[in-house]
């Protein structure tokens, strides 16, 4: 499925911008893509303007433009994060049922989401901590998780407490089952496969260290 050369491994952990750039590199020209709210929106900055990548926003727009500035701001023209955006040539609008039909029907090539946890089998947890006082708020996360042809996750590999987010099985409430294809992190890029989790690149770590760190079966696919 990969249409680009794998990202080379590097000696240092990747910054958020570098992770976003790595995701952008793996998006084939002409793809229809939904970038989730938060960190995934950074990917837009790294997609080459001539790649013909077309962005979908689930609140009803295809070929969404960049963030609006100054006089461009129009309260009727926002993205899923409720940020004002612009209308490039070729943009189109549709209502919410049609927008999610587009997603759920498998028409988007790639969706990029953040995550709390990803399991070795591709299960995704990214909507709810499960804390007893947390108000559950799913938004479009579950639709996005199951809708696109391929789902890329962007996250740090470890929590602030140093616990891996790539896990044998998610302990947080699930967003979708076996839906993640790729995981882009500061320390490595992974591909979920039937044979285990493939390591596509490492950054500021080694395959051996990752194997020691993570409680999931890893395959060296560099």
């Amino acid at each position: 499925m990969t249409t680009t050369t794998p990202t080379p491994s590097t000696d240092r952990p990747r910054t958020k911008a570098q992770i976003a750039a790595a995701v952008a590199e793996d998006i084939p020209a002409g793809s229809y893509v939904n970038l989730g709210i938060g960190q995934p929106t950074l990917v837009a900055d790294h997609i080459r303007a001539d790649a013909g990548v077309i962005l979908h926003t689930e609140n009803g727009m295809l070929n969404m433009g960049r963030a609006a500035a100054g006089d461009e701001v129009d309260p009727d023209l926002i993205n899923a994060g409720k940020v004002p955006v612009t209308e490039p040539a070729g943009a189109s609008y549709f209502h919410h049922a049609d927008s999610f039909a587009m997603m759920r029907g498998g028409h988007l090539d790639i969706c990029v989401l953040g995550a709390f946890q990803v399991a070795a089998n591709g299960d995704l947890a990214n909507w709810h901590t499960g804390a007893p006082d947390a108000i559950p708020a799913v938004g479009g996360a579950m639709d996005l998780a199951i809708g696109a042809k391929r789902l890329f996750v962007m996250m740090t590999l470890l929590t602030k407490q140093g616990t891996p987010k790539l896990v044998p099985a998610c302990t947080y409430p699930l967003t979708g089952l076996a839906c993640v294809d790729r995981i882009y992190t500061d320390l490595a890029t992974f591909a979920v496969s039937p044979d285990g989790v493939e390591v596509l690149s490492v950054h500021g770590t080694t395959f051996a260290d990752l194997r020691a760190l993570l409680d999931v079966p890893l395959v060296d696919a560099r």
């Binding site: 689930e58 309260p75 926002i78 799913v138 938004g139």
Partner: protein, 222 residues
Amino acid sequence: MTTICTSTQEALSGIADGATVLVGGFGMAGMPVHLLDALIDAGPRDLTIVSNNAGNGDTGLAALLSKGRVRKVVCSFPRQSDSWVFDDLYHRGLVELEVVPQGTLAERIRAAGAGIGAFYCPTGAGTILAEGKETRELGGRTHVLEYPLAGDIALIGAHIADRMGNLVYRKTARNFGPVMATAATTTIVQVERIVATGELDPETIITPSIFVDRVVAVGDHQ
């Protein structure tokens, strides 16, 4: 027959206690703020509100909530940085919450308007939002049985109406309006202005007059 109302007060007359109210809008785009103000003034209690969010700041839905008029909220994303009114009521056990994935919310509303008795939807399968729901394997994938979500009332923000009640929307302010308009016994619409029948290009009419019961012009929102 569509009634052209001369005030939001007239547009909101006769709403019963206990009504289910579909409220359009995503963020402020398409949010029927004038109709919500009039709903507060009209005074019905014990309402069930179906909307994407559960109120922001202290106005609109949040104001309705703070006055204790809402028994239950059905939405996809109640928790936001400025949803303190809902957060407080929820934690005090003063409002019921049903969280529905955003695309399933839109599709359930569409089903109500389209005479579909129920549908099998892959979104949320295997997650806590599908707990207790009937499931079925279809095409090798688990689907959840979802039921229509109809309203007694729909409150919609659109761009322009003609005197017959046909509606056009503007950019991403379309969002939930067109599906909610089909799914309520009485659909009430605020528009920026009302034009003579025949002035709207028929190819741009998104909500035909058959779905519109009352319309009121509230002036330009910008």
